[in-house]
């Protein structure tokens, strides 16, 4: 990872949504009025939101459905939030690049996620949960 870039990136909480129109991203951020922006993405677990040529934010934990949609979209909707209130909402272009420079830790993250769930609820319950979630996903895509 490029150290100069790493030194200016700020990690912020983000949530990803999607609908018929495309991807929406909710970020917890209170900042100045945005007049220039870009979302830089490399198809993996992280994206960089650039604002006004001076602020760069790292968004992470991008799941597979969102990854595919981002790669096939030209723009994305960003909502900057303070708690639950939207402070500013805007559409920004997506720039696809080869490599942002972060390791894709998605597998390690999800392994930790399921390990924690198994510790809390036991393996059998977690396996049942995974099966229900798998079925829900398949049903969701049949409907849409």
């Amino acid at each position: 990872m490029n150290q100069e870039l790493k030194s200016v990136l700020k990690k912020i909480p983000s949530e990803f949504f999607f609908d018929q129109e495309g991807v929406l991203i909710k970020v917890q951020l209170q900042s100045d009025f945005v007049f220039r922006s870009i979302l830089v993405y490399d198809g993996k677990n992280h994206a960089i939101l650039g604002r006004n040529n001076k602020d760069f934010y790292l968004l992470s934990s991008i799941d597979p459905i969102i990854r595919k949609k981002l790669l096939n979209s030209k723009t994305v909707t960003i909502a900057e939030n303070s708690g639950t209130e939207i402070l500013q909402a805007y559409e920004t272009k997506i720039e696809i690049v080869d490599d942002i420079g972060f390791d894709d830790t998605y597998i390690e993250d999800l392994q930790k996620h399921f390990f924690k769930l198994e510790q809390m609820y036991g393996k059998e319950r977690v396996e049942n949960f995974k099966q229900k979630a798998r079925n829900a996903l398949r049903n969701f895509f049949k409907i849409s």
Binding site: F17, L24, I38, I65, I86
Partner: protein, 61 residues
């Protein structure tokens, strides 16, 4: 690898501001990736692992 100079050069596009109310309404109806995340974690992980194995010539992720 992405460098800071290139990143700064990419921030050229104007941000198209949207109605906060309309955007909030859109979020209310949109599907949260977190809701589907458990299924994604299972389905997507399998795809990611398979593609990583393929990239590394079958030597394992």
């Amino acid at each position: 690898m992405l460098f800071l100079s290139k990143l700064m050069g990419l921030v050229q596009s104007g941000a198209k501001h949207l109605s906060k109310a309309a955007t909030a309404a859109r979020f209310d109806k949109a599907i949260s990736a977190a809701v589907l995340a458990p299924a994604n974690l299972v389905e997507g992980a399998t795809n990611i692992i398979e593609s990583q194995v393929a990239q590394k010539g079958g030597r394992g992720a």
